[in-house]
């Protein structure tokens, strides 16, 4: 990435810094973040862990936050039962339900108190775009669950309405669960169909001992949008973090997920599905870091690439010294549908201790001819048969979505994406 872009980034920051809300992030920290980012440089395709990300939008985008929001917002899905919804448009709170049971929701513009709890996310080069968020964030939502509480669900909807030439949006989320508490969160990223928006989100997750978080992440941005996302999680002893991520939107999407299991017995499971078509590039980098003994992680990825698209999953598992008795499983599968598409699966394992049990498998291939013919021989039309098999391929991930309302919505979305809704509804 050229230094011209960095200079432009600094200029844009200089021009808007006076209006960036200090309640979200103080001016000092914004400047530090910008400096740290400039020192590292923006990611580029030649960087080992960025080569599958389409970063071209960074050349033309305006980094300063969006000022004026579009009047027309995309239609929102129904609120799943038992969830309280908060809507953010271009990174700013738009509407939010009242307090939900057992949870405190701060949005930073009205409440500065939680800002101090944010960690500066700069430890990993893969996480550096969080610094961009830190520099420009216009709002932040901090969700705290008190110890011992079983909280009602929270749904966060982030809508990107503006084009990247007008500015970017910076969703910023912190989920902090006290000891022995439970929470389910749905995080959606939606956009106006044609808006080439730039969304740079940062999510921080802190789980105290025995806390349990189920986190659904649904990315359905518009077909021209770019989504650069960084999530960093810290798990204390016996904490459980289950993440289910479905990505179907955006022209370029990159999510970096880093889970650090620093407490004994902590568990992290990531199940992700990516459905790429057209010229889309959907990239997920996941690092599971076992620090404490007897920690468990699981990574499941199912990615489909059609036409000229790309689906990538780079899954790294690091077992630190002292993380004895670790258990780690990885199952990565890709499906190629077309001669010019690409699926990139990179399982990586680094182990610095003994007594660990790690298994991983990665396979990519085309639709199975035998399965396809079997369906045809039962009278199923070729198009439908192909879509059906693609659908079945994603099932390992989709089946993990136990929230039935959400699952139905996601199924409908994915089927819509496959343009075979009517034929397939039958078969599910």
């Amino acid at each position: 990435m050229s230094s011209a872009v960095l200079n432009r980034l600094k200029d844009e920051y200089g021009a808007v810094r006076a209006v960036l809300p200090p309640g979200v992030i103080g001016a000092e920290r914004r400047r530090e973040a910008l400096e740290a980012l400039c020192a590292q440089g923006l990611p580029a395709a030649r960087d080992e862990n960025w080569r599958y990300t389409d970063l071209r939008i960074l050349e033309q985008a305006r980094f300063a936050p969006v000022q004026t929001q579009a009047a027309a917002l995309p239609p929102l899905p129904e609120v799943p039962e038992g969830f309280a919804r908060y809507v953010f448009v271009d990174g700013r709170l738009h509407s939010g339900a009242g307090a939900a049971h057992g949870v405190t929701v701060h949005t930073a513009r009205t409440d500065d108190a939680s800002a101090a709890a944010w960690r500066l996310e700069a430890r990993l080069p893969e996480a550096r775009l969080a610094l961009l968020n830190e520099t420009f964030a216009t709002d932040a939502v901090s969700i705290e669950v008190a110890a011992g509480t079983q909280a009602a669900g929270i749904e966060l909807v982030f809508i990107a309405s503006a084009a990247a030439t007008e500015g970017a949006s910076y969703p910023r989320v912190r989920l902090a669960l006290g000891a022995d508490s439970r929470l389910s969160v749905i995080e959606r990223h939606l956009g106006r169909a044609e808006a080439p928006s730039l969304v740079t989100s940062a999510v921080q997750v802190d789980l105290a001992p025995h806390a349990a978080l189920t986190h659904y992440r649904v990315q359905q941005l518009g077909a021209q949008a770019a989504w650069f996302d960084t999530l960093s999680a810290e798990l204390a002893a016996d904490a459980r973090y289950e993440m289910l991520a479905v990505g179907a939107g955006a022209l370029s999407a990159r999510s970096t997920v880093h889970a650090r299991l620093s407490g004994r017995g902590a568990e992290f499971s990531l199940a992700a599905a990516a459905l790429a078509d057209g010229q889309q590039s959907l990239d997920l980098y996941a690092l599971s870091e076992h620090v404490a003994p007897r920690t468990r992680t699981e990574q499941t990825f199912r990615g489909i690439a059609s036409n000229r698209s790309r689906a990538a999953f780079n899954g790294k598992v690091v077992v630190r010294e002292g993380a004895r008795g670790t258990d780690s499983r990885q199952s990565l599968r890709g499906l190629l549908d077309g001669a010019q598409c690409e699926v990139d699966l990179r399982p990586q394992l680094e182990i610095y201790t003994d007594e660990v049990s790690c298994s991983h498998g990665a396979t990519a291939g085309k639709l199975d001819e035998n399965m396809l013919f079997y369906l045809l021989s039962r009278g199923i039309a070729p198009e439908a048969a192909q879509h059906l098999l693609k659908w079945a391929f994603l099932e390992d991930v989709i089946a993990k979505i136990t929230l039935s309302d959400l699952r139905r919505q996601i199924e409908t979305t994915l089927l819509g994406q496959m343009r075979e809704l009517e034929t397939l509804k039958e078969l599910l």
Partner: protein, 249 residues
């Protein structure tokens, strides 16, 4: 029902069927026997229209129409059913929904409305009882985790629900225990009707004790080298194929 004349077919450029003639009249059950690799499954797949199986000469007529001109799914909708020698597992595609989609595809093809969901389930349950299949197999993925014998029973279940005009059953009896063999044979027999025909590929005379064929054909090196009544199967059981192979050579 089915008329095959001088059929030549290649797989991966290699000629497997080399001038095969066969006639299966309406209402009849014919058996095809023959040594391993003689082309029995190839014939079954050619009839079902499997991609990669190229017909280089000859003709196949089904109910007077050119079968080879139809796509695989059209053949199925017209009433050709292939019971696979090795039924494939399709995890994630629900067994009973596939069956329903198959029924509805055929109905739509005939201009009939979709099957009523309740009636359909009632019918499937009845046929499952006939096949002594556990109801849990309804909700599983197609053949997913089924044992060899369960897969074969699932094929017959599909056939019973679809009621094809022409069923081609490729070694449906292989891998079945004695009880299952009787169940499958019973299933096949219930479908016998004046307007239906069946073509059974088998290695064993045992199946033919339960499903009595009208004709038995022997396929050797891509051609039917002998046809006869059911006693031919008994003769093969005793003498093996060598005498026919040397006669054919």
């Amino acid at each position: 029902m089915l008329t095959i004349k001088n059929l030549h077919a290649t797989v991966d450029g290699q000629e497997i069927l080399k001038g095969l003639d066969l006639e299966v009249p309406e209402g009849e059950v014919h058996a095809i026997m023959g040594p391993n690799g003689s082309g029995k499954s190839t014939l079954a797949h050619v009839l079902a229209g499997r991609p990669g199986y190229t017909v280089t000469a000859g003709s196949v007529h089904f109910k007077g129409r050119d079968l080879l001109a139809l796509s695989p799914e059209e053949r199925a909708r017209e009433g050709v059913f292939l019971g696979f020698q090795y039924p494939v597992e399709i995890p994630g595609v629900n067994n009973v929904y596939l069956l329903k989609a198959a029924v509805n595809a055929a109905r739509a093809h005939r201009g009939e409305p979709e099957v009523d969901a309740f009636e359909f389930l009632t019918l499937v349950r009845e046929k499952m009882r006939l096949m002594r299949m556990d109801e849990s197999m309804l909700s599983r993925g197609v053949n997913e985790g089924f044992s060899g014998g369960e897969k074969k029973r699932n094929e017959i279940l599909q056939m019973l629900v679809l009621e094809p005009s022409l069923a081609v059953l490729d070694e449906t009896d292989s891998g079945l225990d004695i009880d299952a063999l009787k169940i499958v044979a019973h299933g096949v027999n219930t479908l016998r009707a004046p307007n239906r025909s069946q073509l059974l590929v088998t290695h064993y005379q045992r199946l033919l004790e339960h499903i009595v064929p009208d004709r038995v054909h022997v396929l050797v090196k891509g051609r039917i080298v002998r046809s006869g009544d059911r006693t031919l199967a008994l003769e093969l059981e005793q003498r093996g194929y060598d005498w026919l192979i040397s006669e054919a050579a």
